[in-house]
Symmetry: C2
Subunit: 220 residues, 2 copies
DNA sequence: GAAATCTTTGACCCTTTGGTCAAGGACAGG
DNA sequence: CCTGTCCTTGACCAAAGGGTCAAAGATTTC
């Protein structure tokens, strides 16, 4: 079970009224189970591909019971996404303008790779949403996300002007970190298939590779 | 209109029988329009999210007419995917073991980035398929794709042992090329949103960035 | 321990969707 | 210009899917 998306924003919205947080123990347990099941199904099938029956089955509840806790399929999805954005941006927020430039960026890379490993479903949910043109997240991406990236890009530019790291385009540097780390979650199936049936964990090697890559890219 | 996926394999399968290639001019035109429309819709909505009505509308045909040319929704999808794999791997096939190592890899990166720019729908179709665990492509990925990657990884290892390029993990090097180039197609919406409303083409800058990145990564 | 308040679900409803079919048009080829 | 093949579609159909509801079961509260 995973609180990752369930915790940040107190789920509710449903339960006809619309004021209170999860009250009873039962409510907390069931909304948690629903969000976890929905994450499982939405991340694997996309919004339109997922069905309430599938989510209900994974959650171990009946379909009408889902709809007792959430007003609609869409409401479940929105709940997941709104919890996601914050957690998704946290590793970037932690990048400290006062820190040692190369170390800060390398640490960011490692945090993102760790997230890809620990929360692949969240990564795929996000990927699905962007792939379809972000119909339910456009605002957050053009607002929150863009603002944070612009802010950190400015920090990076400062480091570059101080000669601490190489002068590569800050926005594209950030894109490259996203692309390279999330790839291991979103394309996990392909990565494992290509590496062969030995079934060993690709992440340790990926970590080493990314250390080398960004080490060389950032050297002033 | 785009022949990319329509041409490689002669579409047919439908038309009740199952022997002949597109015979008439009408047939060629309509199967082409259907595959192009299906690429549009599948790449944007995923398989389950797409509907025959949407595809029919984009193609400018009636739904029963679609099903005159293709046996089922699934048949259209399969047709697209089977045409895709070959084209997708071509840029890697072209990497020449006899060529100058760094130049060969850089050229591969540029070809892939060019594909992301010219064929974003194909990239997203592929991404959708892998994200959902590749239910209809597993065989091709574990076979054709893995084989080619293994072959080229061996070539790269040879170059590394000859001291021509840095000794990074060949498979992860290839993954990084895929991740970094396809990101600009698959996450296009996000890339453009973050770069801001100026609406300028991200690809020229991406090209410069990737030149720097791989130049530094590969230097022996 | 009974009233008031949550939870749960079987049965149902309406829309969407993949797919069928028979009949009517368009187009060769002779 | 007529016949046999190819193409097109309006009308249907059955299944799936999102969502509702009333009534029955649990829990809590006093």
């Amino acid at each position: 079970m995973n609180e990752f998306a369930a915790e940040p924003e107190p789920e509710d919205e449903a339960l006809q009224d619309g004021g209170a947080r999860p009250r009873t123990r039962i409510q907390r347990r069931n909304t948690g189970a629903i969000l976890d099941a929905a994450l499982e199904v939405f991340s694997a099938q996309g919004f339109r591909g997922a069905t309430l029956d599938q989510i209900a089955e994974v959650a171990g509840l009946s379909k009408p019971n889902l709809l007792y806790y959430f007003a609609s399929k869409e409401a479940i999805h929105v709940e997941l996404l709104s919890g996601l954005m914050d957690t998704w941006l946290d590793p970037l927020r932690e990048m400290d303008p006062e820190g040692e430039p190369e170390a800060e960026i390398m640490a960011y890379v490692r945090r993102k790779l760790q997230m890809a490993r620990d929360y692949p479903r969240e990564s795929r949910l996000f990927a699905n949403e962007i792939l379809q043109g972000a119909p339910r997240m456009r605002a957050a991406i053009e607002g929150e996300l863009k603002d944070l990236v612009d802010e950190k890009a400015a920090v990076i530019r400062g480091w570059q002007q101080a000669g601490k790291i190489a002068g590569v385009h800050p926005h594209h540097l950030i894109f490259s970190i996203w692309a390279l780390t999330q790839h291991y979650a979103d394309f996990d199936m392909q990565v494992r298939a290509v590496l062969g049936p030995e079934g060993e964990d690709p992440f340790p090697e990926a970590g080493k590779f990314l250390d080398t890559l960004f080490g060389r890219l950032l050297a002033p």
